[in-house]
């Protein structure tokens, strides 16, 4: 199974952390529903071109936070998630993406009021349905 997970090796965010966050977003957004089987650690490591050490760490983290569960000899599956936790993940992931965008703008030497202007322009375009 191919999952829409894309890691960026240039990001300062550790790779295992990127995997954890993208899984959480896929689960919270309903793209992966409860009970859905996940790729094995070895298969995901091959697809993402990373070591099983990194993948295992991501799966352990997700399991600890209650997003996935491992059944001995059967594999790894998406766990049942409470609605309020799903909501929380959605809010956090949107927040993170916007924060990253702002950081990118600042790294190009834009100031905050310029960033605000860009943001408002995007919102206006969306309102117009573009």
């Amino acid at each position: 199974m191919e999952l829409p997970i894309r890691i960026s090796k240039d990001s300062r965010e550790p790779i295992y952390h990127q995997i954890v966050n993208q899984f959480k977003a896929l689960i919270a957004g309903g793209h992966l529903s409860a009970g859905a089987p996940l790729p094995s650690i070895r298969a995901l490591s091959k697809d993402l071109e990373i070591s099983i050490i990194t993948t295992r760490r991501a799966y352990q983290d997700l399991e600890l936070q209650g997003f996935i569960k491992t059944l001995q000899g059967k594999g790894t599956f998406v766990a049942e998630i409470a609605e309020d936790l799903k909501e929380e993940v959605k809010v956090t992931s949107v927040h993170n993406i916007i924060e990253n965008a702002v950081d990118t703008a600042l790294s190009y030497d834009y100031n905050l009021s310029q960033v605000k202007e860009i943001f408002l322009t995007i919102l206006k375009d969306k309102e117009k349905g573009e």
Partner: protein, 286 residues
């Protein structure tokens, strides 16, 4: 955890060539890429593990049994695919299979047939009549199904076409699923190293340069585009400088120095694995 392979202080001399000293431990469930320049000693190293060559110094244990001792039970724990096999030319795939199957109690006939089918290997032709690529496929189909916990592959995909390489990768991923097996794969194919390996074991002209976890190795290196003048500054950690682009393998030292000297950069990125391997294998020459 018990290691499948344990090597200490291993050294081997062949005329002017000196391999080692090598220390290495392989845990179950891992794939290690054996990487090195041509003539770095990769094949010799695998032969030493198989007790096909005698070391000057050091010890090798496979599944906790010394490979140089009287007890040869370790041979059931390891399957070795050499670059070239001797003495197979006159036999057909069918005959070779019967010969090998008899030696390995865990032989997986289902996997063998699956590989023959996927790779479209003719079993009734003599080995010598097969192309080099097909010979490699047959060799693999006669090695993986032995189901020995330790698999040593010496350049297994060198002659294989692109679709076959992909098939082999999936076969290897499946083969690793039980989680208690390990592979050491000597390879110059960057795709094998990127997609399959957890660790890189690097040799240069017989010298052991390190045993790295893949992401740790990648995270050690960064490339910077410097915007201010560098003049003749010697920057700590920098392993390569080309104009205003520098590569460091001690990132925090380099960044601290750049900040302290007020040297600015406008872009930083990670290196590709093949660039890192190239740096490792060329820097050491100096």
């Amino acid at each position: 955890m018990n290691s499948l392979l344990y090597i200490e202080h291993l050294e081997k001399r062949i005329d002017e060539f000196h391999l080692g000293p090598i220390n290495l431990e392989i845990e179950p469930g891992t794939i290690t890429a054996l990487v090195g320049n041509n003539g770095s000693g990769k094949s010799t190293f695998l032969k030493l593990i198989m007790n096909l060559a005698k070391p000057e110094k050091g010890n090798i244990k496979v599944n906790n049994i010394f490979t140089h001792g009287e007890n040869e039970d370790w041979k059931n724990s390891v399957a070795y695919l050499p670059q070239t096999v001797l003495g197979w030319d006159a036999f057909t795939g069918n005959t070779l299979k019967e010969l090998i199957k008899a030696l390995y109690p865990n032989w997986d006939e289902e996997l063998f047939l699956k590989m023959v089918n996927l790779f479209e290997i003719p079993l009734n032709k003599k080995f010598s009549k097969l192309s080099q690529g097909v010979q490699q496929k047959l060799n693999l189909a006669l090695t993986l199904p032995r189901n020995a916990p330790l698999l040593l592959l010496d350049e297994p995909t060198y002659f294989m076409d692109i679709p076959s390489k992909k098939i082999l990768m999936d076969l290897i991923v499946d083969w690793m699923e039980p989680g208690d097996r390990s592979i050491i794969i000597a390879s110059h194919q960057i795709d094998d190293i990127r997609k399959l390996s957890d660790y890189l074991f690097v040799l240069h002209n017989g010298k052991f340069l390190g045993h790295f976890e893949k992401e740790e190795l990648i995270e050690n290196y960064a490339r910077y585009w410097i915007t201010s003048s560098l003049e003749d500054a010697t920057i700590p950690g920098v392993v390569l400088q080309e104009g205003n682009v520098i590569i460091s393998n001690r990132i925090s030292e380099t960044e601290n120095y750049l900040e302290s000297q007020n040297i600015k950069w406008n872009k930083r990125n990670t290196l590709e694995l093949d660039d890192i391997i190239t740096l490792l294998l060329t820097q050491n020459k100096q």
